[in-house]
């Protein structure tokens, strides 16, 4: 059984249908990437999963549980976390407080302490700046904080929406490295990316989304080699 399964998910904003029946699966242990042009419905796919924007029809099943009637704040407790587009750290809270909010649903003190240490080890800069307001961090640091905050929820499945957006190449490389590390530590990842090339390089499988529909899917290497993908998303 797949860890996450979407069956014919449709989502609407008013009369506009942003998702026209998406089906996809993510197996435990995988990195799956979702690529597509602006407005294709990548973010909407993630908000449909986390419940911020509930689907109008179709089903989202996580670990055997239908999320249809689960409130977004309860989804986290099941081990599914969504790190949203644009980082969305709490700007006037400190770095440490932001991480603490990641652990909001947990009460295993020892586990939380261990995860603080793990995040600080992965992102030493966050430890240096732990008393600083998150809004004053650089874009790259904020992205690290967003990933760290998501890690603090102790997720089994991590949804990442464009973690590389607007970052310098060196920072992007660092973020992708961290995604791989997390995956090796057992976190399953569904990664939405504009930076299709890098995403396809670290992913096991990929889905291509066009105007609310999946138009291609398969092993990431195959998708990377596909001439249509190269023409449309890789600028070749």
């Amino acid at each position: 059984m797949a860890l996450l399964e979407l069956r014919d998910v449709r989502a609407k904003y008013g009369a506009i249908e942003a998702l026209k029946g998406i089906s996809l699966t993510v197996e435990a242990g995988e990195i799956v990437t979702l690529i597509g042009a602006n407005g294709a419905g990548k973010t909407t796919t993630l908000t449909s999963i986390s419940g911020l924007h509930k689907p109008s029809s179709g089903s989202v099943v996580f670990d055997g549980k239908d999320l249809g009637n689960v409130a977004p704040h309860d989804v986290v407790r099941l081990g599914l976390v969504h790190s949203p587009e644009g980082r969305r750290v709490f700007p006037r809270m400190t770095v440490a407080e932001n991480l603490e909010m990641g652990a909001y649903t947990r009460d295993d003190k020892a586990g939380i302490q261990a995860d603080f240490a793990r995040v600080y080890e992965l992102f030493p800069v966050l430890l240096e700046r732990k008393a600083q307001a998150a809004g004053t961090l650089s874009g790259g640091e904020q992205q690290m904080l967003a990933v760290g905050r998501a890690m603090m929820t102790k997720p089994r499945l991590l949804l990442l929406d464009e973690p590389s957006l607007g970052l310098a190449p060196l920072i992007v490389a660092r973020i992708f490295q961290v995604i791989q590390t997390l995956n090796q530590q057992g976190v399953t990842i569904l990664l939405v990316e504009q930076n299709a090339r890098m995403a396809l390089k670290i992913a096991h499988r990929a889905y291509v989304l066009e105007t609310g529909e999946v138009t291609m899917s398969g092993p990431a290497a195959d998708v990377l080699a596909d001439p249509r993908v190269q023409a449309a998303y890789l600028g070749e």
Binding site: P91, M101, G135, T136
Partner: protein
């Protein structure tokens, strides 16, 4: 001259504390919902009627024993705070919550409506208390709230500056309540959830925070602060009136905006500033000029700091 300045400082500080406490209710709700709860001043007013009724029912007056007065005072504070909190929470659940996703004018107009409804309730309550406690006058007339604390001058009878026990109570109790609020918001799990929700409700949800619960807690705490403020205000002014929420609410709301709406220390700063400016303008310019001077100064402040004294003008990085 120095005596006069000290005296006005004291008056400004005590009045300012009341404004600050009421302003906190406006600012906390605004911080989370970006919505002005215009009924907040009237929650303050009705909470005062709760204490007025209690004082009447217990037959407390300045002849009562010190023990009875102290007990009555504590009872009033608890009852009015609980009442204010629950009333505010109920208003949110019944009126505002169904309108959460509606265009912003809908909850705003509803809040103004609730404000008028509560004033009517206050008017009715005023008439009722007349009958129950055998007082005279009209339902709309200000009701005398007995001085539950001795009216002695703590600085000595010969001093030109008057510092009464009730001044000490107003300032002391307000400081305690504000520190408690600061502690809650800064250090508790609920407080952190409130701040996170105020800064980014969607991100807060994604971290597992039940935003509806946080909103309820905010109305509860804000209302309780208003209820608490109503007791110390009644004690200080010694009257209760069905329109007392209107003017004080407007002043407190202004204080919240001047301090930086949504900002908790800002509400306190704005409240104190308003109280002080009012006291000094009354003394040195004349009480008849109070609204003009007060709001003139506040407008000047806003012209130079449109986001309020502590409001953030700096853009956050996206």
């Amino acid at each position: 001259m120095l005596d006069t300045v000290l005296q006005q400082l004291l008056i400004g500080l005590t009045n300012g504390m009341v404004f600050a406490l009421v302003a906190l209710g406006y600012t906390m709700v605004y911080g989370i919902l970006e919505f002005i709860n215009f009924a907040h001043g009237d929650v303050f007013m009705l909470s005062a009627f709760v204490s007025l009724t209690l004082v009447g029912a217990l037959g407390l007056n300045d002849q009562s024993s010190a023990g009875a007065l102290a007990g009555g005072l504590v009872l009033c504070i608890v009852a009015s705070s609980v009442f204010g909190g629950l009333l505010n929470l109920t208003i949110d659940r019944v009126v505002y919550k169904p309108l959460r996703k509606a265009p912003k004018l809908a909850p705003l107009v509803s809040a103004i409506g609730v404000s008028f409804i509560l004033q009517n309730v206050g008017l009715f309550w005023g008439g009722m208390s007349m009958q129950i406690f055998g007082g005279g006058g009209q339902a709309a007339a200000p009701k005398a709230f007995p001085n539950l604390l001795p009216a002695t001058n703590l600085l000595g009878a010969s001093s030109h500056v008057t510092l009464q026990p009730k001044d000490v109570l107003v300032i002391g109790a307000s400081l305690v309540v504000m520190s408690a609020l600061y502690g809650i918001v800064q250090f508790t799990k609920l407080g952190k959830a409130m701040r996170a929700t105020a800064q980014d409700p969607s991100a807060a949800r994604l971290m597992g925070i039940d935003v509806d619960q946080v909103v309820s807690a905010t109305f509860l705490i804000g209302g309780a602060l208003g209820g608490f403020a109503s007791v110390i205000y009644s004690l200080y002014i010694n009257t209760v009136h069905y329109q007392m929420g209107y003017q004080n609410g407007l002043y407190a709301f202004t204080a919240a905006v001047v301090g930086g709406i949504g900002n908790i220390p800002g509400a306190v700063l704005g409240g104190l500033l308003l109280g002080l400016v009012r006291a000094f303008s009354d003394q040195f310019i004349g009480a008849q000029w109070q609204p003009a001077v007060l709001f003139g100064i506040l407008i000047v402040i806003l012209v130079f700091r449109p986001a309020g004294l502590l409001g953030s003008t700096a853009r956050e990085k996206v």
